[in-house]
């Protein structure tokens, strides 16, 4: 009987979040767009018979038609195939790179922000050092040593260099939340520090943490696109950035082959934009004060 009461209470809490989450317009729109691209990324490659780099169209570049939905490149490759495969890479880099960056940043940020003192000073110094490392230069050096660059390596590298921003933001938020009286009250209730961080401070920063992940997700995608664009992308996969690199390299801008660079660019923009919209919506869901009721 007692267990029933306990679970009902927990269910109610969860249901309330979901209730508001599914009502929120910004969240709905953002989610729909992301889901659309995700489905496209997962199932898209099955919808096309062409290989990524196969010179499918003998006539070279053609605008979109019924056979080649996004048209073909300078070399007659099917843009649609390239884009849907590239979408997969984009999501992998975003989730992996963004995830690693966020995770490291959160751990370091919470520790530094809550503990304060000497540990905070050390972590701070470390964060600042990583922050000023010139990522491009390091990547070039690494690229010179590695024979093969995989998507995984690219993600890890992006994650390992992007976390300082998250760490700083989390640290300063933790600092300000830590001095709030409800944390004092939690300490007066003999709650252990780890528990305080995860049950009092983190939930208050939930939208902040999700925002950090979304920023990292979007940032990782943009970072990867930049790296790919200058030719430092993975050697064994295709990504949206690489498609755009090829497009610009092979004169798509001059020759008006809009179908080559517009779809990938639009896809990146739509995904990152949808992520930001989701975030604003999530803020309203998490913060009762912003709700309409």
């Amino acid at each position: 009987m007692n267990d029933n009461i306990k679970t009902t209470k927990k269910e109610k809490n969860r249901n309330e979040f979901l209730y508001f989450a599914f009502r929120n317009r910004k969240l709905q729109i953002g989610l729909i767009i992301i889901l659309f691209f995700l489905i496209l990324a997962i199932f898209g490659p099955f919808m096309t018979d062409h290989k990524i780099y196969a010179y499918a169209n003998p006539t070279g570049p053609t605008p979109p038609n019924s056979e080649y939905w996004f048209g073909t490149t300078f070399f007659g490759q099917d843009v649609f195939t390239q884009v849907v495969h590239g979408l997969r890479s984009t999501f992998v880099v975003g989730i992996l790179g963004g995830g690693i960056g966020t995770l490291i940043g959160i751990i370091i940020g919470f520790t530094a922000g809550y503990t304060g003192g000497v540990l905070d000073e050390i972590l701070n110094a470390f964060t600042n050092i990583v922050l000023v490392i010139p990522t491009l230069a390091v990547l070039l050096i690494i690229a010179a040593y590695l024979d093969v660059r995989s998507l995984f390596t690219e993600s890890v590298f992006i994650g390992l260099t992007a976390w300082p921003w998250v760490a700083r933001a989390v640290r300063s938020q933790t600092f300000s939340l830590r001095s709030r009286e409800f944390v004092d009250l939690a300490r007066l209730s003999a709650v252990k520090p780890i528990k305080i961080i995860f049950s009092e401070i983190a939930p208050n920063m939930m939208s902040y943490l999700v925002m950090s992940f979304i920023l990292q997700f979007g940032g990782a995608i943009l970072n990867a696109a930049t790296l790919d664009f200058i030719g430092l992308g993975p050697t064994n996969a295709i990504s949206l950035g690489m498609v755009m690199q090829y497009a610009v390299q092979w004169g798509a801008l001059q020759f008006g082959m809009w179908w080559w660079f517009v779809p990938p660019g639009l896809a990146i923009t739509a995904i990152v934009g949808a992520l930001y919209s989701m975030n604003v919506g999530l803020d309203e869901v998490f913060n009762p004060k912003l709700r309409e009721t």
Partner: protein, 313 residues
């Protein structure tokens, strides 16, 4: 019940922590069972710091604090649970004391999980409702609400209820009504007085003399970290001895008489918190060279102590 013995709190400030700020400077006083003691001081006096040191939220730099003859100064995190069953605090800002994204009664759940895990839900719910009613809240209107849906007065009472759930012996009330409206203040104050009659000891931290007089038997006047006067509230207000207390009593706007022509000297600078000499030196109309050394608290009449060289001869 609570004894403070030469408590000090020193902060390191300045570049590379070169300078020292003495927020609290060798403060001693005690609070007996069932007694309300007011700790009176303005901002910068160190009163909140003392409250937090008693609650072990801030480390004590020097001195000892005793709770029922037990030295609690060296207690660390894990050992404090027993202490917190007996000693709790309520703070100034009711809205900041609640985690805004959770419902207000979640803090009762925390108390349950940490201190009473063996009590089942139903008897616990009854205990909670009983405590809420005893502080003048209607459980039906209060439970299940978010903090921003309740008023400041209700939240402060909520916090007092939380402390009472633990069956505490001693409460640190740090400016708990200064953020409330005039009409709700008196209700919360009356609640504290009722609790005192039931045996609770309270350290009532405030800057408002009339509130202190309303509710407490004893008062400690704090200025820039040092105790300048201490004793029975009535004696202090009817016969203020320390120049600072005199200035305080004369400058407080009252509803029964107009300000006298006493010229009060304002502080020209922010406190530097040095420990050389009397803290009131730069504003005192009676200052002379002897004041360069820190005066000791001496008894002038029964239950009335002053720290001022004027009274040592």
């Amino acid at each position: 019940m609570i004894t403070l013995d030469n408590i000090s709190k020193v902060y390191r400030v300045g570049t590379f922590g070169g300078k020292e700020l003495h927020a609290v400077n060798q403060v001693s006083f005690n609070i007996k069972d069932g007694e309300v003691v007011s700790l009176i001081g303005e901002s910068g006096s160190g009163k909140s710091t003392i409250g937090k040191m008693i609650l072990k939220l801030i480390d004590i730099t020097d001195g000892r604090i005793y709770f029922n003859d037990q030295d609690i100064t060296p207690l660390k995190r894990n050992e404090l649970k027993e202490y917190y069953r007996n000693v709790q605090g309520v703070f100034q800002d009711p809205f900041s004391s609640f985690n805004p994204i959770f419902k207000a009664d979640r803090m009762f759940q925390i108390i349950h999980d940490e201190f009473y895990p063996h009590i089942d839900s139903k008897p616990w719910k009854e205990k909670v409702e009983h405590t809420l009613t005893s502080v003048g809240l209607n459980p039906e209107h209060i439970l299940g609400k978010y903090p921003h849906q309740l008023s400041g007065g209700q939240l402060q009472r909520f916090l007092i209820a939380r402390a009472l759930l633990l069956d505490i012996r001693f409460l640190v009330a740090d400016e708990i009504i200064s953020m409330l409206d005039a009409s709700t203040r008196i209700d919360v104050l009356n609640l504290l007085a009722e609790l005192k009659l039931k045996g609770l000891s309270i350290l009532f931290i405030t800057h408002d003399l009339s509130l202190a007089n309303y509710i407490s038997e004893h008062a400690v006047i704090l200025y820039r970290g040092s105790v300048v006067e201490r004793g029975t509230t009535g004696k202090i207000f009817n016969n203020p001895l320390h120049p600072y207390t005199q200035m305080l009593v004369a400058s407080v706007p009252r509803l029964d008489q107009k300000w006298d022509e006493i010229v009060s000297v304002e502080s020209q600078s922010t406190p530097t918190g040095g420990i050389n000499g009397c803290a009131y030196l730069d504003r005192c109309p009676y200052a002379h060279e002897k004041c360069e050394t820190m005066p000791e608290l001496i008894q002038v009449e029964p239950n009335h102590f002053v720290a001022c060289w004027k009274f040592t001869d």
